[in-house]
């Protein structure tokens, strides 16, 4: 099992597309957008809060897109016949799916770590290195639902359809998470819906750390709930795909 996990992780780290998507893009967007937004701040404290919010939002964006799209990548492996190849080895199929989910979720780690380092350099105050580590941990665990829903999409759709579907789903999740527009700037009805999404809770958990708030049990319950739903979907999709191909 560890050998397979290692094999998968090494492959991901060599995928240039994934590195651009999860690290380069959020970093560039953060660096490009933060000056104009912090300039509009009314006072230095407000500027700091906004900068911290932006940093978490772009880290969340990188983690979300990265974990989700690497999950969708299983579609290509399926089309190539790699999953069939694995199914005639003693490696049990559920272990393959679990390893994939772990490997995909770990894509969040470098994204969040890199944004934290850049954030600190730009003046975001963490209040201790352990909080930076906590942020990475919280955002890694929080991105598990995205890896799982990505796998579900990847097991159901062929690569040609997985690409556009992936864009649609990840964009909706990022939007609901308040990554493009802060949630409290949305209409009230939309806000009440968005509060139930895993991406909003995911982003909020990160913001809570920067604001020295305790982690919300409700947020984690919602994330865990979505993780279960998406895990069931991924398992179902896997069984369906194994039956047909």
């Amino acid at each position: 099992m560890l050998a397979y996990l290692k094999f998968e992780l090494r492959r991901m780290y060599r995928e240039p597309r994934l590195l651009v998507l999860t690290i380069a893009m959020p970093v560039i967007l953060f660096l490009a957008l933060s000056p104009s937004i912090t300039e509009q701040a009314k006072n230095p404290q407000d500027a700091k809060d906004t900068l911290a919010y932006l940093m978490v939002a772009w880290a969340a964006y990188g983690a979300l897109i990265g974990t989700f799209s690497s999950g969708v990548g299983v579609s290509v492996e399926r089309a190539a016949g790699w999953l069939r190849q694995l199914r005639i080895t003693p490696l049990p199929p559920p272990i393959v799916v679990v390893c994939k989910a772990i490997a995909c979720s770990l894509v969040a780690v470098p994204a969040v770590a890199m944004l934290s380092v850049i954030g600190i350099a730009k003046g975001v105050e963490f209040g201790g290195a352990n909080l930076a580590l906590l942020l990475v941990l919280v955002m890694w665990l929080g991105s598990i639902p995205f890896a799982l829903v990505g796998l579900a999409v990847g097991f159901v759709l062929p690569p040609t359809l997985a690409q556009p579907a992936s864009f649609l789903v990840s964009f909706s999740l990022a939007f609901a998470g308040g990554i493009f527009i802060p949630v409290n700037a949305m209409p009230a009805t939309m806000q009440s819906v968005v509060r139930w999404t895993p991406s909003y809770r995911f982003n909020q958990n990160g913001v809570d750390i920067l604001q020295h708030h305790a982690q919300s049990a409700a947020s984690w319950a919602i994330i865990a709930g979505w993780a279960l739903v998406f895990a069931a979907l991924a398992a179902l999709a896997y069984r369906r795909s194994a039956a047909t191909k």
Binding site: Y4, V76, G81, P90
Partner: protein, 301 residues
């Protein structure tokens, strides 16, 4: 004890196995047993049901009816015990990993793998061990699949058209490796549509067509049935009498030309010449395999 010993000798046993896809019967009531240590070729044209049969033996497809046993248990059991290694036609590799990493992975998932260097050497991959899997040529990638199948040192190797995309040199190296593996007492089953390949490398050739077994025997026996020649010549106005020369199994006259189907074209031609009858434009052609399969299936019906 004796019963257990008897069970152990059969590597694969199929009883009344049927598989349908919609209205198509891909495999139609197949009965087959392969003893441990045998090297068996599954010979048949495309669409004969070879791949479907293999996929069922590996537990990738469930039969619609019938029973499949591999080493006395279910195919899934044999796979999870690491007793089967297989090279599938439609199985491929993923990018961003090297040949050596793929071999290491295969070794890690089997309980009793072969040494990595031996796998690379046998599959002819030593020189390209550091190459990425997505950068391999067709033949190299076929050898990489072979390495993956071989890595776990399985008791039963199942190969679905293993030499497609290989050049002549790779083909020879592949079969040499296969012979060495079989010599260690392993059971090998391979699907092919080349009669020569089946005859050269298998102890036993099973011919399938239309999802059924149409012939089962040694390469020489099968060759006699499906590998006949057609001897044809212009009759030079002598008519169609006395054409049942030695070896001839069928006579056909079209216009002024005779087409003799022969199991032993050498004897037929020798007799033709010594008979002293005039003839023109003598030709000897190998019967097409497709044609031979049709003849076999026709005979069966």
């Amino acid at each position: 004890m004796t019963q257990a010993a008897v069970r152990l000798t059969d590597a694969v046993r199929l009883t009344g196995v049927t598989k349908t896809f919609g209205s198509v019967r891909a495999v139609d009531g197949l009965d087959l047993s392969i003893a441990s240590g045998e090297t068996v070729a599954l010979l048949g044209p495309n669409g004969a049901g070879k791949s479907t049969t293999i996929n069922m033996m590996l537990g990738l497809l469930a039969p619609a009816a019938g029973r499949i046993e591999v080493f006395g248990g279910s195919p899934q059991r044999a796979v999870s015990d690491g007793r089967i290694g297989a090279m599938l036609q439609d199985a491929g590799f993923v990018p961003n990993a090297t040949v050596r990493e793929m071999v290491d992975l295969a070794r890690a998932v089997y309980a009793r793998p072969l040494p990595a260097e031996e796998i690379l050497r046998v599959a002819g991959l030593t020189d390209i061990a550091g190459r990425r899997l997505d950068k391999l040529s067709g033949g190299q990638s076929q050898r990489a699949r072979f390495a993956f199948a071989l890595a776990g040192n399985p008791n039963l190797l199942v190969l679905d058209e293993p030499t497609s995309a290989m050049d002549v040199a790779s083909r020879q190296a592949f079969w040499a490796a296969m012979r060495a593996y079989a010599a260690g007492g392993k059971t090998i089953l391979f699907a092919t549509h080349y009669l020569e390949e089946a005859d050269d490398f298998a102890d036993r050739v099973i011919v399938v067509a239309g999802g059924r077994i149409v012939a089962d025997g040694t390469g020489a026996q099968i060759k006699k049935v499906v590998g006949g020649r057609t001897v044809s010549f212009g009759l030079a106005g002598t008519g169609g009498a006395d054409l049942w020369l030695p070896g001839v199994s069928a006579v056909d006259i079209r216009g002024d030309r005779a087409f003799l189907r022969s199991d032993d074209s050498d004897a037929t031609v020798r007799a033709l010449i010594t008979s002293g009858r005039p003839f023109a434009d003598l030709e000897i052609a190998g019967a097409g395999l497709e044609e031979a399969f049709l003849a076999l299936t026709g005979k069966e019906a």
